[in-house]
Amino acid sequence: MTTKVSRLDVERAIDASIGAAPAPTVEQVIEFAKSTIPYNFSALALEPFYIRFIAPFYHDAGKRICTVCNYPLGGMSNKTILAQEKQAIADGSDEIDCGINISAFMSGNYAEVAEDYQRVMETADGRIVKYLYFADLLTEYQQLKAVEIAVNLGVPFLKTNPGYGYTTTLENVRLIKENFGDAIKIMVSGGVRTTEGAIAMMEAGVERIATSSAFQIIAGFDKLN
């Protein structure tokens, strides 16, 4: 099989997360972080608690850390989200993946969703923010509405889903590409676990892939050649 998407392309697109047993120990996360250093992954994705244990050595290795805020269920109040985000940045997070106020969105309060997220952007102070909008829960119309809010706010990246059983399809990606083109970058999250799956997503135009199967995806390139 030949493909235009190279191993390095995929490697550089990956936000790697541990995804082992739930609530991994600090030791397990340190070990995982160290094992990602030889790779060209875009970032290591961590829950806020772990950042302070990883950031010192990970930054020394020239690597980036990404944290999840208002995650994974999108039910925090905006005031707490901003405190969580500030703390994450102080602890050493280079990027912020932040869930929208999904209940406000489902209630049709789009202005509230936008206002809340505007503050998330301001707090990030120029760092990359990825707009987690729970695509798997939404109708096509709702997906477009959610993305429109992000595009209007100038958010650099979408994050389709939180994982935890929420999966992202190629149709989810195509819908955004067809309607918004390159106005916003896409990170897919949820259900990308194979080399073939990652390549298909890259071919559909995604810029990043959040996955807990990073090593497995990269190792799969050996079998393709």
């Binding site: 609530a23 269920l73 039910g75 109040s77 405190a83 602890d91 209630s107 935890y164």
Partner: protein, 216 residues
Amino acid sequence: MKGWTAMELNQTLYKCGLSQNYVIEICAEAAKKGIYSVSVFPSMVKTAATALKNSNTKVCSSISYPLGADAPAIKIEECRNAIADGAQEVSLVMNAAAVKSGKLDIVKEEVKGVVDVAKKLGCVVKVMIEMPLLTKEEAVCAIEIADSLGVDVIQTATGFKPLQKRNITKDDIALVLATVKHAKVEAIGTFNNPNIAEEMISAGAHRVASDVAIAF
């Protein structure tokens, strides 16, 4: 005769993307049935507090739900904000990773911080200990910390299905009861029928949480 009363039930709404109207409907139903409390995410506390204003049903807010993987300062801040929004009870998810890592100072810091803030404001404190993720020794250690720091109620899990390797059983209730000196125990797991409520109450649980409590 049923082996439980509505006052022994906690209706949880810990589901992603519930609309305001849905939360209001469930609150009205819970109040009508005399259910003890409705538990919501912090973003829905104001909505639930307004809906339950003229009832005896209490509003409980989750804190750091469902992973509990936040720094103590953020959990304490979330608790303060939830109470300001109208929460009468808070339900803190204990940092299971810190417990498993032996970082007990962090666990104590978050629990003590939340208890201090909540007690000062007259709010009941519950702590969710994800028992299916912990060994028996870890669970006992977690329960002892919560109990000794003045937590009112120990909850046996979060009920978040992706974390739920197994359901909560009478043995979990027994372990909490055998360990605590002061705290009460609330059974929470994946409970979808009234028979489980009865089983948990007869095992000594003070209260039972379910996402379908209003249908019991």
